[in-house]
Structures are given as structure tokens and as C-alpha cells.
């Protein structure tokens, strides 16, 4: 395939995450560290779920294709569960460390839990996206014809968009998840878990990747709206932002009425 495919798919999949990193995270060393720790937690969760899948696969030791597929589905579900568990574990770790940070430097403003939720979500997302897509990307640089055996020829583009949706979803899930933990709304955690399962399940339930993508993006938009309201946004602040007005002018307008 061509360099155009490579760069196009790379930027489709990782562009927003890269932009978010450059503009919000790269400037603060502490955020970079939390991002990498988040990525590490996701990695460990993947390791654990691969181990479980590997054990299951070797124990059953059945070479049938449907059996393998069932095992794979089992692996996917277990993996999602473990990822969410590790998200919770990371939340606990951050909670503990922010206590520590507060006690050590009372003057210094420790990053807020909301910010850490965003950073950790992004960390999870970036690692997840990279692991899913980077091998495919590197293959796209080499020679070959996509879909020569009848598979859909938009394989790379579909994968790129799916990776993008996963990255952004992880970010939103992180925000919502941490907020749920902070406010002790445990149903939030359940909803996040179910949404994650849904998105993953979509990929193997429906053979139409186009439909998967559309549904995943709908879920992305919904989750994004939820995360927006959870992190303190409101219709008013959105209007302020979109109309490029600052708060004072808006208040002034209201006052003059």
C-alpha cells in the first residue's frame, strides 16, 4: 500500500489524541507522568487478560475454528472486565497519591481528580489504540493488495476510525468513571462497563464494519455529552465557548436586560 494510506490512517487514528497530548498534557511534567502510568496500567491489564486467554486456549487445546472463536470472544469479554478493574485500581492509586501530595505540599496545587480522570482516560486510550493499530499500520507500508480474497477493501480506513473511536471513548469513560467513583455513584461504573462491552461486542456480533462504526460513533457522541456534563460543563458554558464570548460580557448582557 502507499505512504498516503499509511499517513492518512495514522493521522485519522492518532491525530486527535496527539493534538490533545500536545495541547493539554505535554506542557506539564506531572501530567505526562500520570499519562504514562495510565498507559502502563492498561498494559498490565492487557497482560493479565492475555494470560487468562492463553491459559484457556492451552487448556482446552481444541483446534476447531468455532471453538477458537468462542475462546476469543471469552478473551475479549474478560479483557474488558479486567481493563475496567484496572481503571478502578488506577483511581484508587491516584486517590492515595493525591492525599500524599496534599500532605507533602500544602501550598502546591495538586492536579484535580477531574484532570487526572482525563489524563488517565487518555493514557488508557492511547495505549489501547496504539496496541490495536500499530501493527496494521506498519503492514500498510509494505506491499500488498487489500481485500484480494473478497474482504472489504477499506480495511485500513475502518480500522483507523475504529481505533479513533476507542481512544476517544476511553478518554470519556475515564472521566465518567472517576466522577462516578468520586461521587460514589456505583451505577456509573456499571454503565461504563456495559458500554465498553457493547462497543467490543459490536465488533464481533455484526459482520458489517460500517454498521459497527456508526453505532460506535453514536455511543461516542452520547458518552462525550455525558462526560461533558459530568465534568462541569453546561449548555451555557458551551454557548460561551462557541460564541467566543467571555463570561463578563455574557453577564453584562444579562444585567442590562
Amino acid at each position: 500500500m502507499t505512504a498516503a494510506v499509511f499517513f492518512g490512517c495514522a493521522f485519522v487514528a492518532f491525530g486527535p489524541a496527539l493534538a490533545l497530548y500536545i495541547f493539554t498534557i505535554a506542557t506539564e511534567p506531572l501530567r505526562i507522568i500520570f499519562l504514562i502510568i495510565g498507559a502502563f496500567f492498561w498494559l498490565v491489564s492487557l497482560l493479565l487478560s492475555s494470560f487468562i486467554w492463553f491459559m484457556a486456549a492451552t487448556l482446552t487445546d481444541n483446534k476447531d475454528e468455532p471453538r477458537q472463536r468462542d475462546l476469543l470472544i471469552f478473551g475479549v469479554l474478560i479483557s474488558v472486565l479486567i481493563q475496567e478493574m484496572f481503571r478502578f485500581a488506577y483511581y484508587k492509586l491516584l486517590k492515595k497519591s493525591s492525599e500524599g501530595l496534599k500532605s507533602i505540599n500544602p501550598g502546591e496545587k495538586a492536579p484535580s481528580m477531574r484532570l487526572l480522570a482525563y489524563v488517565s482516560g487518555l493514557g488508557f486510550g492511547i495505549m489501547s489504540g496504539v496496541f490495536s493499530f500499530v501493527n496494521t499500520l506498519s503492514d500498510s507500508l509494505g506491499p500488498g493488495t487489500v481485500g484480494i480474497h473478497g474482504d472489504p477493501p477499506q480495511f485500513f480506513l475502518n480500522s483507523a476510525f475504529m481505533t479513533l473511536v476507542i481512544i476517544l471513548l476511553h478518554m470519556f469513560w475515564g472521566i465518567v468513571f472517576f466522577d462516578g467513583c468520586e461521587k460514589k455513584k456505583w451505577y456509573t461504573l456499571l454503565v461504563v462497563l456495559l458500554t465498553h462491552l457493547l462497543v467490543s461486542a459490536l465488533t464481533f456480533i455484526s459482520p458489517y464494519s460500517g454498521l459497527n462504526l456508526v453505532l460506535a460513533y453514536i455511543i461516542l457522541v452520547l458518552t462525550g455529552i455525558w462526560a461533558f456534563f459530568v465534568s462541569g460543563g453546561s449548555c451555557r458554558s458551551l454557548k460561551l465557548c462557541l460564541l467566543c464570548q467571555d463570561k463578563d460580557s455574557l453577564l453584562f448582557n444579562q444585567r442590562s436586560r
Binding site: P29, L30, I32, I33, I36, I37, A39, F40, L43, L46, L47, S49, S50, F51, W53, F54, Q68, R69, L72, I73, G75, V76, S79, V80, Q83, L101, I104, N105, P106, G107, E108, M127, S128, V130, F131, S132, V134, N135, T136, S138, S159, M162, T163, I166, V199, S200, T203, F204, S209
Partner: protein, 550 residues
């Protein structure tokens, strides 16, 4: 602890042998020497250098000073007190701290929490200052491995790993790799001990020459080979005159930057490049299983050598401490930031001194730090540059009796960040001689109370031994070379190493003593390499082939 006020004498004694971070690895002997050196100069824990001097140096400073130089006025003291306890036992750190003694009067009433806070605050920045070069080195190595086939071809082995791995049985192969490791590690140990002996008997010239030879081979021969292979890979023709010119310029500038003076960024770039070249040599010539076992053994050795009382590295540190000399400052990557005005403001009393023209005496006093007279001129420059700042601050000058010491302090201080923990002021002074650092050092002072705000602007560099760079890159490079074209393994090792580095720096902040940087990172790296290669890769490949997303 020796007074470094009499510091002049001590500084004079110090030959300030510049030990560039060279692994003249080509000549295996020098290579091994460099290798051991890098392990010897175990300043891997960058946070150590970042901290201010120990309280006792503050005490000495206080006693050493003639007059209560308005200790409270010394802005830098905050930094010193902050550093209290952060200091490692590295002599070079003490050494650099010594000039700071003057200001190390300690600000009374400073809340201890504030000190720790600053530690933590600077800790994150320092971690990132290490992440960047480590990442760059790994990127260079991985990019080379993935594109240039030369470094993944098997073309013989080093003489230090004589046993071949092309054996029929797995057990035999494992045995051979263990034997290779034993030989390699014992060579390293012998080299380290040899180095300690040389250092103990003050054969500085020998060590100096050794390192120059190493860096010559590294910068010229290995670069030539690397360039040749890259050109071959991309099928680019280059005639010999051009090649000669390129390699000559590259090598000569490298020698100058590493051994003498040059812009900090250039020096850092060269250190990263030679670490990458060295790592590539290792990746090429170490057989697979031997490489992994060697990595494991090296981290164990590192742990033992740095933490055990009878370890060679520890002995070296103690010897250097006794003599109050810096340990080999070369072979250390330094991202030294320069002092800000906070330090310059420190000595109001030296304002008078600043008005003096270059004082050869003082220059000499400080010049002992540097082997060359250019170092003296450097001090002068710093003096004159610092002067307007003081004036701007409107600080009162004090009597000239204090002139000498505070200005010495100033000079040392201004030098200190450069020589920062390398204990090699001359070498690092070249860093600050470059353009970028000067403006940073002499930033316009804030009006008003020379207080904490300025102190907080002060930044200390961090240092990491080049050996750490090399072994991290070897791990990631091997993962890239043998991971069957799998990028996930490489990325997993990369993240694992960064996390290990983070943890090491955290432990450093907690334990406040010299720690080896290899064990935690290499352990994580190895665990993640093997588990990702054997467990995660099949899982992800199967998922990708079925187009499932987790």
C-alpha cells in the same frame, strides 16, 4: 567533610579529568573500561544532583563565613535547606554544594514541608528531563534496527562472549549463554576494579587518555561504519572526500563538545548518539539468549555494586569523597539547567567584587576547576554578566573582605549548575558557555524581595549515566530486532522502562541516597518483553485477524 572553602586547594588538586561518556567500545578493552566506568560513575539518580547540599555543608559554610553575611539574605539558602537530606553521598555533589555553602546559611523558619514540596515539584520536571533523552536514544536505536539490516545480521560475536549459541539442544544453548554472561560480567568487574585502583593511585592521566581513545574510536570508526550501512540501505552513493569531510567534522565537533566546551544541547545530542551507537554494537554482536541473560546480570551487578559496602562503585565514591574530588564526570548525560538570578542575587556582598575587573587571583581560585585557562575567562564572563543583575537588584555591597568568598561562592555557584554533580565544572562550564544557557542564567531579576519566587525559578539539571542509556536501548532494540516484526513488544518494553525510571526516581526522592538506575527498569523491561512476546502477541494478532477490538 573537608572545607571547600579551603576549597581552592581542593579544587586545585582536582585534575578535573574530563571523562566524556565514551565507550570506545570498538577496542573491546576500552569498551569494557568505558562500560565499567559508566557503571562506576554512578550518578544515575538524577534527582540526587538536583538537590541542594546537605545540612552539614550548610553548617560548614556558616562557620566558614567571616561575618553573619546576613545569612537570611542569601536567597539561595532556601534551595540549600531544601536540599538538605536530599544529597547523596556523592562527593561531587558535595563538591558542588561546597560553593553553595556560603549561601547555605539556611533560611530560618523555613517550613520543612516546603523543602519537600520543592523536591517533589522539581521531581516531576526532572523525570521528564530524563524521559526525553532516553526516548530519543531508543527511537534512534529502534529506527536503525528496523531499517538497517546490518545490525540484525549475525556476523560473529565479541571476544567476551566466546560461546556460540548455534547449538543443537536448548540446554546447551542456555548453558552457553550463561557462560557468556559470566565471562562478560567478570570482565566488567575486573575493569571496574582496575579503574578503582587507577583512581586510588591517582593515575588520572591514564584514565583521561583511555577515555579520549575510547571516544575517538566511537566518534570516528563507529560513525563511519554506521553511516556506511545507512547509505547502503538507502542506496545512496557518497564519494570518499565527502564522507571523509562529514565524518571528520562530526567526530571533531563531538570530541570538542564532549571533552571540552560546547553548547549543552550539542553535548547532549552527541552523548545520545554515542549511546545509541554503542547500543547498536551490543545488539549486533551479542547473541540472543546471552543478551537477555547479560541484561539481567548487569542489573544485579549494578544493584550489588552500588548498594553493597564493599562494592567497587561504592568504594570509588567513598574514595572520591575522602579526597573531596569529583568522580569521573564524563560518561554522564547532563541536562543541567543553569542557575537563575536567585543564585546570583545571593551575595549582595559580592557586588563590590563585581566591580573589579577580572581578578586573576579569583580566576585562578576558581580556575582550578578547569583545566584550561579558558575556564578562567569563563568565570570572568560570568562575573561580568552577573554584575548588572546585582546592580539592578540594588543590593548593597558589603566590605571587600567578604568579596572574595561570596564571589567565589558566586563563581562556584554559577559554575555549579554546569558542573552540576558531574563534579567537573570545566566540562560542564562549556555547556553554559553556549548561547542558550546564558540568557537563562542571567534572567532579569524580579524586583523586591529576593525571595522564594526566584529561588523557585532555580532549576537543577539531572544526570543519568550513559550506561543506563545504553542498556535501556539494548533492551528495546533487542525487542525490536527479535520481536518478529512486532511493534507491540517494543512499545511495551519502552513503557516498562519509562515506568521503571519513574519508580527509580521516586525511590531516590524517598531514600535520598545514590541508587542504581538499571535494576528496576531492566526488570520491568525483561518481564514485559517475555510476557508480551509470548502471551500478548498471539492474543493481539488473533484479535486483529478477526477484527475484534477490546
Amino acid at each position: 567533610m573537608p572545607e571547600d572553602r579551603g576549597g581552592a586547594g581542593e579544587w586545585n588538586e582536582v585534575p578535573c579529568v574530563p571523562f566524556p561518556g565514551t565507550f570506545g567500545g570498538r577496542v573491546m578493552l576500552t569498551f569494557m573500561a568505558s562500560d565499567s566506568e559508566e557503571e562506576v560513575c554512578d550518578e544515575r539518580t538524577s534527582l540526587m544532583s538536583a538537590e541542594s547540599p546537605m545540612p552539614r555543608s550548610c553548617q560548614e559554610g556558616r562557620q566558614g563565613l567571616e561575618n553573619g553575611e546576613g545569612a537570611a539574605q542569601w536567597v539561595g539558602s532556601h534551595q540549600q535547606s531544601k536540599a538538605s537530606g536530599q544529597r547523596g553521598q556523592e562527593s561531587e555533589e558535595d563538591h558542588e554544594e561546597d560553593p553553595d555553602r556560603y549561601v547555605c546559611s539556611g533560611v530560618p523558619g523555613r517550613p520543612p514541608g516546603l523543602e519537600e514540596e520543592l523536591t517533589l515539584k522539581y521531581g516531576a520536571k526532572h523525570v521528564i528531563m530524563l524521559f526525553v533523552p532516553v526516548t530519543l536514544c531508543m527511537i534512534v536505536v529502534v529506527a536503525t534496527i528496523k531499517s538497517v539490516r546490518f545490525y540484525t545480521e549475525k556476523n560473529g560475536q565479541l571476544i567476551y562472549t566466546p560461546f556460540t549459541e548455534d547449538t543443537s539442544s536448548v540446554g546447551q544453548r542456555f548453558l552457553n549463554s550463561v557462560l557468556n554472561t559470566l565471562i562478560m560480567i567478570s570482565v566488567i568487574v575486573i575493569m571496574t576494579i582496575f579503574l578503582v585502583v587507577l583512581y586510588k593511585y591517582r593515575c588520572y592521566k591514564f584514565i583521561h587518555g583511555w577515555l579520549i581513545m575510547s571516544s575517538l574510536m566511537l566518534l570516528f570508526l563507529f560513525t563511519y561504519i554506521y553511516l556506511g550501512e545507512v547509505l547502503k540501505t538507502y542506496n545512496v552513493a557518497m564519494d570518499y572526500p565527502t564522507l571523509f569531510l562529514t565524518v571528520w567534522n562530526f567526530g571533531a565537533v563531538g570530541m570538542v563538545c564532549i571533552h571540552w566546551k560546547g553548547p549543552l544541547v550539542l553535548q547532549q545530542a552527541y552523548l545520545i548518539m554515542i549511546s545509541a551507537l554503542m547500543a547498536l554494537v551490543f545488539i549486533k554482536y551479542l547473541p540472543e539468549w546471552s543478551a537477555w541473560v547479560i541484561l539481567g546480570a548487569i542489573s544485579v551487578y549494578d544493584l550489588v555494586a552500588v548498594l553493597c559496602p564493599k562494592g567497587p562503585l561504592r568504594m570509588l565514591v567513598e574514595t572520591a569523597q575522602e579526597r573531596n574530588e569529583p568522580i569521573f564526570p564524563a560518561l554522564i548525560y547532563s541536562s543541567a539547567m543553569v542557575w537563575t538570578v536567585g543564585m546570583a542575587k545571593l551575595d549582595p556582598s559580592s557586588q563590590g567584587a563585581l566591580q573589579l575587573p577580572y581578578d586573576p587571583e579569583m580566576g585562578e581560585y576558581q580556575g582550578a576547576d578547569s583545566l584550561s585557562s579558558s575556564g578562567v575567562a569563563f568565570h570572568h564572563i560570568q562575573l561580568s554578566l552577573a554584575w548588572p543583575l546585582r546592580e539592578a537588584r540594588g543590593l548593597e555591597g558589603q566590605g571587600s573582605p567578604e568579596l572574595r568568598e561570596p564571589s567565589d561562592g558566586l563563581l562556584s555557584l554559577s559554575l555549579a549548575p554546569c558542573s552540576h554533580d558531574t563534579g567537573h565544572p570545566e566540562e560542564d562550564s562549556c555547556d553554559s558557555l553556549g548561547e542558550p544557557s546564558y540568557p537563562e542564567v542571567f534572567a532579569p531579576p524580579l524586583p523586591g524581595y529576593p525571595g522564594e519566587e526566584l529561588e523557585e525559578e532555580e532549576e537543577r539539571g539531572v544526570k543519568l549515566g550513559l550506561g543506563d542509556f545504553i542498556f535501556y536501548s539494548v533492551l528495546v532494540g533487542k525487542a525490536a530486532a527479535t520481536g518478529s516484526g512486532d511493534w507491540n513488544t517494543t512499545l511495551a518494553c519502552f513503557v516498562a522502562i519509562l515506568i521503571g525510571l519513574c519508580l527509580t526516581l521516586l525511590l531516590l526522592a524517598v531514600f535520598k541516597k545514590a541508587l542504581p538506575a538499571l535494576p528496576i527498569s531492566i526488570t520491568f523491561g525483561l518481564i514485559f518483553y517475555f510476557s508480551t512476546d509470548n502471551l500478548v502477541r498471539p492474543f493481539m494478532d488473533t484479535l486483529a485477524s478477526h477484527q475484534l477490538y477490546i
